[in-house]
């Protein structure tokens, strides 16, 4: 065999000769997301591994998402990303992420101000709007529309959990849309917040929350787990892990476990979950009209949820005679703590003496529970 033939064969079996336009588009999408994460700083901890997962999964001939079990093989004969993806598909990763979130989260603001639950609930408005909108397009069945709508809750693990149950074939685009919008919260929310509130409302300084006792913080995760799991057994894994992580944090006698859950474990699972979320974006199945619809409807869901929280925040502002800053309503979408951080930032822009963070954490953590409840409702109806 001539040396030129060797090179020709090498070229013909390489990715360069086999790459499709769809894979090229996905590689460009991955690079844009990497640019936004690294150069623009949009939630780089999430967006970098997601974007790199997209990049890896769309390299032709590499077979990183090859599923050997589909052809009767063993699981360990599958591609690397397919093996990692099993942790997402089985809901293991979303539940472990929830444990990490629980260990990081201070539920004190919610316990101190239980009316935050109303803001967290009203910020699920977009979930139901998106569900109705998705059905109206005629592109999605009711279970698919429900899985899509939950993007409005801005909760990545819950989005994956619900789509695994109701529309596993859509988990990839739904997860990418949910995580991308969570990463873009600092861009998406402020214009809506400024549009729906007045300068005077944004300037409102809220009174300090009451001090929450240690006993209350210990009883809270136990009570919520038992109550929610009895009421909505479908979300017991998610809420159970969330509250276990929180109990590690609040009990005062499991500091090592709390530290591991919120740092080492959460970081490891974030890497695995984010890479496998990105890896589900195969160019062949991703570049379809339905995926585009998921991206558009997901953005509407997210925007309507933000608006729902803000509008209820304005109602609470009126009812309390101006004691509630409506901006905290936008944190009712459950991206913890990004949404609360945005409320803090927009509030501080209007009034530098404004500290809305802890007030916004109440609706923010209530939103986590609210989105899980919305997911449980959909699972009960369509599961």
């Amino acid at each position: 065999m001539k040396i030129s033939e060797v090179f020709l064969e090498l070229f013909q079996t390489s990715g360069f000769a086999n790459i499709t336009w769809r894979e090229l588009v996905m590689l460009v999408v991955a690079c844009v997301l990497l640019y936004m994460a690294i150069a623009k700083g949009f939630e780089p901890l999430l967006l970098t591994p997601i974007a790199f997962g997209i990049l890896l999964a769309n390299l032709p001939m590499a077979n990183l998402m090859y599923d050997a079990t589909a052809e009767g093989g063993q699981w360990w004969q599958s591609g690397l990303l397919q093996i990692i993806y099993s942790g997402e598909r089985s809901n293991l990763f979303p539940c472990l992420i929830f444990m990490g979130i629980g260990a990081m989260t201070d539920f004190g603001p919610l316990i101190a101000n239980p009316t935050s639950l109303l803001l967290g609930a009203s910020a699920q408005f977009g979930v139901y709007i998106a569900f109705i909108g998705a059905r109206a397009t005629g592109l999605f069945t009711a279970p698919e529309a429900a899985a899509l709508g939950i993007i409005g809750g801005a909760d990545g693990p819950t989005s994956i959990y619900l789509s695994n149950a109701l529309a596993p074939h859509l988990t990839g685009p739904i997860a990418v849309a949910a995580y991308s919008y969570m990463a873009l919260i600092p861009l998406i929310q402020p214009p809506i917040m400024k549009l729906l509130t007045t300068e005077e409302e944004r300037k409102i300084q809220m009174q300090q929350l009451r001090r929450v006792s240690k006993a209350e913080k210990i009883v809270f995760p136990i009570f919520v787990t038992v109550f929610t799991a009895l009421l909505l057994p479908d979300v017991a894994p998610l809420i159970g892990m969330l509250m276990l992580g929180n109990l590690f944090k609040e009990s005062g006698c499991t500091d090592r476990l709390s530290d591991t859950a919120q740092n080492a474990m959460c970081n490891i699972v974030t890497i695995l979950l984010s890479v496998s979320v990105g890896a589900t974006t195969n160019g062949q199945t991703f570049l379809q009209i339905r995926t585009l619809a998921i991206v558009v409807i997901g953005l509407l869901a997210f925007s309507f949820s933000t608006a729902g929280g803000l509008i209820f925040g304005k109602i609470m502002c009126k009812v309390t005679g101006g004691k509630v800053n409506p901006l905290i309503g936008s944190a009712g979408v459950s991206a913890v703590p990004m949404a609360a951080r945005v409320a803090q930032k927009v509030g501080a822009e209007a009034n530098r003496h404004n500290f809305l963070l802890m007030h916004a954490m109440g609706p923010n953590v209530a939103g986590v529970i609210g989105t899980a409840v919305a997911a449980a409702y959909f699972m009960r109806v369509f599961g």
């Binding site: 990081m104 989260t105 201070d106 300090q208 929350l209 001090r211 703590p337 951080r341 803090q344 501080a348 530098r352 003496h353 500290f355 963070l357 802890m358 954490m361």
Partner: protein, 70 residues
């Protein structure tokens, strides 16, 4: 004299001023870290920093005095 109060529980991440520094109303004087976020604590009024009662890494609670401005 005005006290600089911590708006929330957290750790002292950075102290931006020294005793004797002149500050304007709403200048950032201390940065706290809480729930993996950096929170800027601003001067409650214009004046001179009279005291800083915390150091980097300290755990502070809501309404704890972080310093004073005269």
């Amino acid at each position: 004299m005005q006290e600089i109060l911590s708006p929330m529980p957290g750790n002292v991440f950075e102290i931006k001023v020294n005793v004797g520094d002149k500050v304007e109303d709403a200048d950032v004087v201390i940065v706290l870290e809480a729930m993996k976020m950096e929170i800027e604590v601003v001067a409650p009024c214009a004046g001179t920093v009279e005291s800083i009662t915390v150091k980097k890494g300290d755990v502070v609670d809501t309404n704890q005095v972080l310093g004073t401005i005269k």
